[in-house]
Symmetry: C3
Subunit: 137 residues, 3 copies
């Protein structure tokens, strides 16, 4: 097995909260690595942006997911002490997580028919960094 040098992807976000499909970027990195059998880690270097695997068919799923999260974890609470006003973005990020791991088999990621990899912005718009690490043979 080989541990391929990680690649850095820049993600430009356009709104405060937003899901961006990055599946093709991960697929391209796998293709370029030549790894046929192993796994890939996608890691977000931020504490107010996450990465998750979610439905890639109906964009309404993204709307509903972000909307419900916003209802549960609104931007302002009287008891928040952090003065940047983005405490809720930190909790949302912790909830979804800042990395995903996917399996590579026969040169392709194993993803369900409706699964895509999404970069999730919770405190944009910003320029963000995502690291792709591939391990395999």
């Amino acid at each position: 097995m080989r541990s391929i040098s990680p690649t850095i992807e820049t993600v430009e976000t356009a709104r405060r909260t937003q899901m961006i499909d990055v599946t093709d970027r991960v697929e391209r990195a796998i293709e370029q690595s030549g790894v046929r059998d192993g796994f890939v880690i996608v890691f977000v270097e931020h504490t107010t942006a996450a990465v998750t695997i979610q439905e890639n068919a109906d964009p309404d799923v993204q709307h509903d997911l972000l909307m419900k999260l916003e209802m549960l974890v609104p931007q302002l609470e009287t008891y928040y002490q952090h003065d940047e006003g983005n405490s809720e973005a930190h909790l949302k990020t912790a909830t979804l997580g800042n990395s995903i791991t996917a399996i590579i088999d026969n040169g392709r990621m194993i993803l369900g028919r409706w699964q895509g990899i999404y970069f999730v912005e919770f405190d944009g718009p910003r320029e963000r960094r995502m690291v792709i690490k591939i391990v395999g043979e």
Copy 2:
């Protein structure tokens, strides 16, 4: 180190929301792989079903966990746009995550005394797929 070919497990769920202990299936896959030292990834191929590590002793923990999630993220909200009526299952899945990673040491998973691996259905009953990937030596 070797990257063992992934195995697919079918999980039959019986209710809309349900936690199913799949620890023994993962243990069996590790045993069959012959790997003594490494790690295992369990990956769920769906966007309305998750996998998590939780208490394996008192089933009331599962009841309380699913019930509280249901209270926080009920099935219907007036602002949901996704017309399949399962937006809440997507958010619950994103919250718990669709994969776990566990360490293999001396041929066995390192799990705490009260830890088990659970497949978590949020939009059943259905026939579901779970992928087990073992890497090690």
Copy 3:
């Protein structure tokens, strides 16, 4: 690539809910392993304590995150059946997750400028166990 034997870290918590920065412990384990290129898994052996990557600058972020979680998932609900009175700690743990994976590059973890690794106690004070597994070359 080598699969390094896991090391166990003991974490002493002092309050019911608490975030403890364990980044330096993980860094030390990587240094001692001699691995320059690969990844590390940090795994918590409990079902009422988590591990997450969060902001390491302003401690108010930790306060706000734990406080909001407490508001969303209070300790007592009339419908809880588990008689240990810590059902909420189980759900909080499932939400944050019991493991993280980080990439090792040139002998160091790839972490964003504001990222630290935090052990998160939800049912303390207790003596807890955290496993560090390093894989690489």
